[in-house]
């Protein structure tokens, strides 16, 4: 089996997460919304415990965590949930960036169809949004600003602290898609100016199918979001439906480990990175996104003369890598992220993404470089 180097798509699950999920599947299977007996009360207790663990990662309050099915749903609630407020308040200007995940770009496009004016900010060749672009785009009637924390394709960290300074004193709601950075880059998301944070369990060694929208209160009031679904009133009425307690509890465990093991994980990722970058350098690979801004567990490179599909196929018995995000890799459309960074068509077509984690075993980089060199002939 090839060694898995696609951790930005999804991560392996921590053993203790599996144990927690299994417990709530097999033994403690109560419904958290039925706290009329110990089964239900214990389920509700586990959910509230998990809520606290997720909140702690970003220093939010427990009641500010709304469990969802994952970051895509969280992004949709955070963006489309403001449509009603924007229409009644006459604030119809929405800002986002060209490198967002489709889970942000598509709901934003829907806001455009609903009559909102959408402004998509370009990014720099280093993969980062220039904060000045946001300063120039902001207007009094700006309703919503949506920026990601870490790009899923390049691993480049976005300048959230600088964006927070620009947004200070402005009424616009600020949503951050943190699917790739939650639990990995801790301090940024603790900035109280960030109103909404979208996260996924399966990017932090938790189960798939669970995530959260963290909605920080302003002046003790929740952001004026409207639900996209109705029926049941769970999760403060924003996300009805029976909570998947095993997944929620597993997500909580994963959040706990993300804080507890943060430094040790980063250290392992940094050590792995040295081998990866050395091997890629031998191949003359060009990194997409500035190395100084990239998190330790990911790298996006273009290998001159070798198309992405050919490289991925040739390497599939040694390492499992991808070319773009998991949600668009099946469509074979060129990366909109690299295009937004101004990469040439050839550079885009030869790009691959490698992403690893603290659980990744050693890779024989000699094998990798030998295969790719052979392809060049």
């Amino acid at each position: 089996m090839a060694i898995y180097l696609d951790c930005n798509a999804t991560t392996p699950v921590e053993p203790s997460v599996v144990a927690v999920v299994t417990r709530f599947l097999e033994k403690d299977f109560g419904n958290a919304a039925s706290p009329i007996h110990d089964y239900g009360v214990f389920a509700r207790t586990a959910v509230e415990h998990a809520r606290g663990l997720v909140a702690e990662v970003v220093k939010a309050r427990r009641d500010e965590v709304i469990f969802t099915s994952g970051a895509t749903e969280s992004n949709n609630i955070a963006l489309l949930g403001f449509a009603g407020r924007g229409m009644t308040a006459g604030r119809r200007h929405v800002i986002t960036t060209a490198i967002e995940h489709k889970a942000v770009l598509e709901p934003v496009a829907e806001l455009g169809r609903l009559g909102f004016e959408v402004e998509i900010l370009p990014v720099q060749p280093d993969g980062r949004l220039d904060p000045q672009r946001l300063a120039e785009a902001l207007r009094p009637e700006t309703l919503l600003v949506s920026t990601m924390q870490v790009n899923n394709e390049t691993g480049v960290l976005q300048p959230l602290a600088e964006l927070a300074d620009i947004l200070e004193g402005h009424e616009a709601w600020w949503h951050v898609d943190a699917a790739q950075g939650f639990g990995k880059e801790i301090e940024q998301l603790r900035n109280p100016r960030i109103d909404l944070i979208a996260v996924s369990g399966h990017k932090i060694y938790g189960p798939k199918g669970v995530g959260a929208l963290i909605a920080r209160k302003r002046d003790n009031l929740f952001p004026p979001l409207q639900p996209l679904m109705f029926g049941g009133g769970q999760e403060q009425g924003l996300r009805p439906g029976t909570l998947p307690v095993p997944l929620v509890a597993g997500f909580g465990e994963a959040a706990k480990l993300a804080l507890r093991d943060h430094e040790a994980r980063r250290e392992k990722c940094r050590a792995f990175r040295v081998g990866a970058l050395t091997a890629l350098d031998w191949l003359g690979a060009e990194q997409n996104g500035a190395e100084a801004l990239t998190l330790p567990h990911a790298v996006n490179v273009s290998i001159p003369g070798i198309g992405s599909d050919r490289a991925i196929n040739a390497l599939k018995r040694v390492i499992a890598v991808s070319s773009t995000s998991a949600c668009t890799s099946h469509t074979r459309t060129p990366s909109h992220v690299l295009q937004a960074m101004g990469c040439s068509p050839e550079r885009v077509e030869t790009s691959i993404r490698l992403s690893w984690c603290h659980m990744t075993p050693e890779v024989d980089w000699n094998d990798v470089t030998a295969i790719l060199r052979t392809m060049r002939g």
């Binding site: 110990d38 214990f42 207790t45 606290g52 427990r62």
Partner: protein, 83 residues
């Protein structure tokens, strides 16, 4: 494992000495904190207890929604630990 029980003891001391945790509730929590061997295999519940002690507030149920843990929560978790 011992680290978790140390955290429970520290949180209980803090709540008892500096905040509102009553003696009748602190005593059984100390009993758990000081007997790690007895509660082996129940660490998940002990973790919940640590969080509940840290966020204990006698006024947790006042207002429109419950925002902290109260004595009923702690008593229930202590009961589950003995089952």
């Amino acid at each position: 494992m011992d680290q978790l029980f140390r955290e429970l003891e520290e949180a209980t001391i803090d709540q008892y000495d500096n905040k509102d945790l009553p003696k009748w509730l602190a005593d059984p929590v100390f009993e758990v904190a000081r007997n790690p061997a007895k509660y082996q295999g129940k660490e998940y519940l002990v973790e919940i207890l640590v969080a509940q002690v840290r966020e204990y507030d006698i006024y947790a149920e006042t207002g429109c929604c419950k925002w902290a843990y109260d004595h009923e929560d702690l008593k229930r978790t202590l009961r589950w630990l003995e089952e």
